[in-house]
């Protein structure tokens, strides 16, 4: 079996701007930058606050010195924490973005599925979108026509084929989109975490299909997921990425085990991941769930969650409190504060705890955002600090009579005995 993907010393760097939050430059800003700079310095002098150090640009290597080879019909799972460079690697391999260094060579057609339903138009019908999405993924018209019936069959949306997809349920939408991708005839398939959206049954069907494809047709699959179960089930090889570099390669079982263990030192909150007016005063340092610090926390639904947040405060403050927000798939589910009322806080270390009763969260992947605010009486408005999705955790798929498989919705509500 020959090598079909050869990656040599691949690297990708981005320039990060510390000023402004938007990723793009506005012409207006370029012109105004100098003026603003002078103005803000003057303002800081007048109000007698320290002038913040401006590190205008910084080079950030999101991927560096990555080399590996993939043989034909290998199913390679790429794992790593958020920001480890998984998505960047996939984006380079699917040629969406260019590497800054190194090179890669491939043999055969590459199809990439980084998002389900790219190019879908809500106004068009299911039938029209199959053709459109097929073309977007690089299929030819004749090819789509030939496979049309199979695609429809796989997607289970036959009845709604002539309905605009804007009237589809999200499940139907995902099913249709994945069905198109499943029938792609490419030698190499690059898949990002796209299965996380569908329902459980359909996810299994898709995984089965992907396994089929690589085993019987000799196709190669590169697969990114946070779900270790899926990786274990689907892939025969694993690549573990850590801070943009390959930290380990080998059989899936080993890699997954090593990855879960390696998590135990994490939980530190990077200074760069928080923003807000309180950044100079409040320094969040560590977050944990039930004493666990890793970024791969697996918790049974029948356990309650105690989320601990540690930090340091550089000034005494009169009215301060911290809080967390729980998110699922980027959707904010709820927030909780450490106190009903803002409290005085002394200079020095502080620690807050938040509590989520058992069974409330249903199985799935969640993330936590943290915040703090100070609505002091001697200042106008509210000073704030916010860290977006600083920690992720997974509620395990353990079903019982309370966390019933057949329950619907996002939450379970505990039942009075």
């Amino acid at each position: 079996m020959g090598v079909v993907i050869k990656v040599e010393d691949l690297g990708k760097s981005y320039i990060i701007r510390h000023q402004g939050q938007s990723g793009y430059v506005a012409l207006r800003d370029v012109i105004a930058e100098k003026v603003k700079d002078t103005f803000s310095k003057t303002k800081h002098l007048v109000t007698n606050t320290p002038i913040p150090k401006i590190a205008a640009k910084e080079e950030f290597w999101s991927l560096k010195d990555v080399s590996f080879e993939v043989n034909q019909s290998d199913r390679v799972g790429i794992i790593g924490r958020n920001g480890a460079g998984k998505s960047t690697l996939l984006k380079i391999l699917s040629r969406i973005t260019e590497p800054t260094l190194g090179r890669f060579s491939t043999k055969g057609r590459i199809a990439s599925l980084l998002e389900v339903g790219t190019g879908f138009h809500p106004e068009l019908t299911g039938r029209e979108n199959i053709f459109l999405n097929g073309a977007v993924l690089g299929m030819h018209r004749a090819e789509i026509k030939k496979k049309f019936d199979e695609i429809v069959d796989f997607s289970e949306v036959e009845k709604f084929l002539d309905t605009p997809v804007k009237r589809y349920s999200s499940g139907m939408y995902v099913r249709l989109a994945f069905a198109v991708a499943a029938y792609l005839e490419s030698e190499i398939l690059v898949v990002d975490e796209v299965l996380a959206v569908g329902d459980l049954q359909f996810q299994k069907k898709c995984l089965g299909k992907m396994q089929d494809v690589s085993q019987s047709e000799g196709r190669t699959v590169l697969f990114v997921s946070h779900n270790m179960g899926t990786i274990n089930q689907l892939c025969n090889k694993g690549i573990l990425l850590k801070a943009g570099r390959i930290s380990d390669m080998g059989s899936t079982g080993d890699i997954v085990r090593r990855y879960m263990k390696s998590g135990s030192t994490n939980g530190q909150i990077e200074r760069s991941s928080v923003s807000g007016t309180l950044v100079p005063i409040i320094n969040f340092s560590e977050i944990s769930i039930n004493g666990l610090h890793s970024n791969d926390i697996y918790i049974s639904p029948s356990n309650e969650l105690r989320i601990g947040l540690k930090g340091v405060c550089n000034h005494d403050m009169d009215y301060f409190r911290t809080g967390i927000t729980i998110l699922k798939d980027g959707i904010k589910l709820f927030s909780s504060h450490n106190h009903p009322e803002p409290q005085p806080i002394k200079k020095g270390k502080f620690q807050s705890e938040f509590f989520i009763p058992k069974y409330v969260l249903r199985p799935g992947d969640y993330s936590i955002s943290i915040f703090g605010h100070d609505n002091g009486n001697n200042r106008k408005g509210t000073e704030w600090i916010y860290g977006n999705e600083v920690l992720t955790f997974t509620i395990l798929e353990e079903w019982d009579t309370i966390n019933d498989f057949n329950n619907e919705g996002i939450f379970n509500l505990p039942v009075e005995p």
């Binding site: 012409l27 207006r28 060579s105 030819h140």
Partner: protein, 278 residues
């Protein structure tokens, strides 16, 4: 074990995408048609007004311009009904202005495709313009109506009309590609586009014949590539009364190709960073 000799059919290195580019453009031709087809479907599907809009807009503009330039300013009509004089220029102008602004905004509106799928990015602005060709054809029906109403028989030159439509297409692509690429980087460019379009209408001979421009200024005036397009349209539709000013036409066409070349060059140069900064 002996090393198996591999013949990789794709090698990607920084700055080496060039070689595959035009090949890829051909390979993705079907995507171009599908995207054009999508835009057409969407434009005429949902809105009842969609179809009517491409008729009402040039028609009303024509009436206003005829009133201002023909009645109030009393500019010469070159021996044809002023309505037809204006409408013959309205057609390419409308085509150019909508194509230019659609192409300029096309990358931003298709952000999700840019960041999730590889294909030669040129396809997006190019396919966006196709829907405006359909719009053009629909608006053309009004011209035929006007001709019947005024008993005006077009000259044989009209067979050259597609050439000038192509010229309008190339002009809008040239300008559109350049601004589309700038728009990705400097997002506030989108505020400039409507202004350019509005401004352009007044400096192009839409409401009046370019024969009104004095001979001294005529060559300078022809630097605007739309002058060549509009003069060409008038020559095709109005015939003998509207003569082509040859040096100006050559200058306009030359400038169009310069613009197109520059547009493609700039687009190609910045294209590979689109997904990173959009």
């Amino acid at each position: 074990m002996a090393e198996i000799v591999n013949e990789f059919d794709l090698v990607v290195e920084p700055g080496r995408a060039e070689k595959n580019y035009w090949n890829d453009l051909w390979r993705f031709r079907e995507l171009f048609f599908f995207l054009a087809w999508r835009d057409i479907l969407v434009r005429y599907k949902q809105t009842a007004i969609g179809l009517a809009w491409s008729v009402i807009r040039p028609f009303l503009t024509m009436i206003v311009l005829t009133f201002i330039f023909g009645r109030v300013a009393k500019l010469p009509n070159e021996g044809v009904p002023y309505q037809i004089l204006v409408y013959a220029a309205m057609l390419p102008w409308q085509f150019f202005s909508t194509s230019f602004s659609d192409a300029s905004n096309s990358l931003i509106t298709n952000t999700n495709m840019l960041t999730k799928i590889y294909f030669p990015r040129l396809i997006i602005p190019a396919s966006t313009v196709i829907v405006n060709v359909v719009d053009f054809l629909i608006s053309f029906v009004i011209l035929i109506g006007l001709m019947i109403y005024y008993h005006f028989l077009p000259p044989w030159h009209i067979v050259f009309l597609p050439l000038f439509l192509l010229l309008a297409f190339l002009t809008s692509m040239g300008a559109g590609l350049y601004v589309a690429a700038l728009n990705v980087k400097y997002r506030d460019f989108k505020y400039i586009i409507p202004f350019v379009v509005q401004f352009g209408m007044y400096i192009s001979p839409v409401g009046f014949s370019s024969n009104n421009i004095s001979d001294k200024l005529r060559l300078l005036y022809s630097l605007n590539p739309m002058v060549g397009v509009i003069d060409g349209f008038r020559w095709c539709i109005l015939g003998g009364q509207s003569k082509i000013y040859v040096p100006g036409m050559i200058l306009s066409i030359g400038f169009t190709f310069l613009l197109l070349f520059f547009g493609i060059w700039y687009f190609r140069r910045t294209e590979r960073t689109f997904a990173d900064i959009i």
